[in-house]
Chain length 205, copies 2
DNA sequence: TTTGGCCTCTTTCCAGCGTCAAGATATGGA
DNA sequence: TCCATATCTTGACGCTGGAAAGAGGCCAAA
């Protein structure tokens, strides 16, 4: 409903409208510039209306984070599926999907991974980043089928740390601040390649 | 002055007191729970007093970040200096210092590396994380003396990404959430070892 | 079709926030 | 000693998140 039409007393789908305006606002102003009242304003609704859909501002932020993880999962899965090659190539693919999502949604990504500093608690049933860990662990386990559980865990740590650290530093401008997008991608791929190579080497030892 | 003594109209060293109370408050409440008025309250001063020492709240936060980078630099330097071994061992040492600082100051560390999302701008002369990059680059260059500038840069990226990513994920509870401190350190050292080994391997090819 | 209950949204209010302006007070050099 | 200046307080403004109370529209049961 309501594309271009006048809306009456009821909004129609305020919850989704708040999620959409909230997400845009988060990217525009950063987490500290995020306000519930501005979200409501952009949804053309009174400042108290959101309370009927989200118990608090943190509740809306938690929903954004939840959807962010779902999308991140999708981005990684899609990129890995595009690759027909071996497990090592798929490991790189997961990293590419991870970085692509982060680059497209920098503020949301940073919020997803600084929930502690921002005191954002997910709901009970919400699994957070567990899906991402599972995606990676599956590929690492495939590469290290003969290794001990300990080695497999350590290589999964290492793989996640490398790809997470690289894009986190890029988002802060600490890596490749002046690089072209093209050059930056090359640097990212180089980091992912070094990571995958290390995992593969362990599998052969 | 003033340990246990009554203080008069003037505080004596309000600037340092605000930095101290601010840092504690940041760790206690997280970035979104940080308020200038609470800093002032803890320094036993009126809510408007900080304005004479910091132009704004962000100005105080920027000062905390600035000092954070200085301390991080020190922690890394000290840990690397403790090590008498080869460059590879010192590279691991830098990572140990990095992680130790982050673990001791989680909220500050996360703020230092999410300035973008938090819209914290450093002052003109402030070099931010450049010192950290230099520390790492020096060791990596030593290991890869014969390599091209491109390879050296990519290995520096890789080294920083791995150690940053690992501790960032630990702070979020994504890695080693249930581990003992001892087990967690072992996992961190394993990640650093895998990283250093990769850099060394490149130097031999 | 009418009616009554419920969900959605608005209005109003509160305390706390960052920041500014104006006034009070102490300090230290002339 | 005196006064300019730096430091701190008080009070005010508009903003925020949240609670409370009432108005408006929807829908199912009668």
């Amino acid at each position: 409903m309501s594309v271009g039409k006048q809306r009456g007393y009821h909004h129609g789908d305020l919850r989704e409208a708040l999620v959409a305006s909230g997400r845009k606002l988060l990217e525009e102003k950063g987490i500290r510039g995020f306000t519930l009242r501005e979200c409501a304003r952009r949804a053309e609704v009174s400042h108290a209306a959101p309370a009927h859909h989200f118990a608090s501002m943190d509740d809306l932020l938690a929903e954004l984070v939840r959807r962010g993880f779902a999308e991140l999962n999708l981005a990684m899965t899609a990129e890995a599926a595009r690759i027909e090659g071996e497990a090592a190539a798929r490991l790189v693919g997961l990293g590419v999907g991870y970085m692509a999502f982060a680059a497209a949604n920098p503020a949301l990504f940073q919020l997803m991974f600084t929930r502690e500093a921002n005191r954002i608690d997910l709901k009970e049933g919400d699994e957070g980043a567990a899906g991402i860990r599972r995606l990676q662990a599956a590929v690492v386990d495939e590469l290290l089928a003969d290794a001990s559980a300990d080695v497999r865990q350590r290589m999964a740590d290492f793989a996640w740390a490398t790809m997470h650290g690289f894009i986190a530093l890029v988002l802060e401008g600490e890596i490749g601040g002046r690089d072209s997008s093209r050059a930056l991608k090359a640097r990212g791929l180089a980091a992912l390649a070094a990571m995958a190579e290390t995992v593969v080497r362990v599998s052969r030892s």
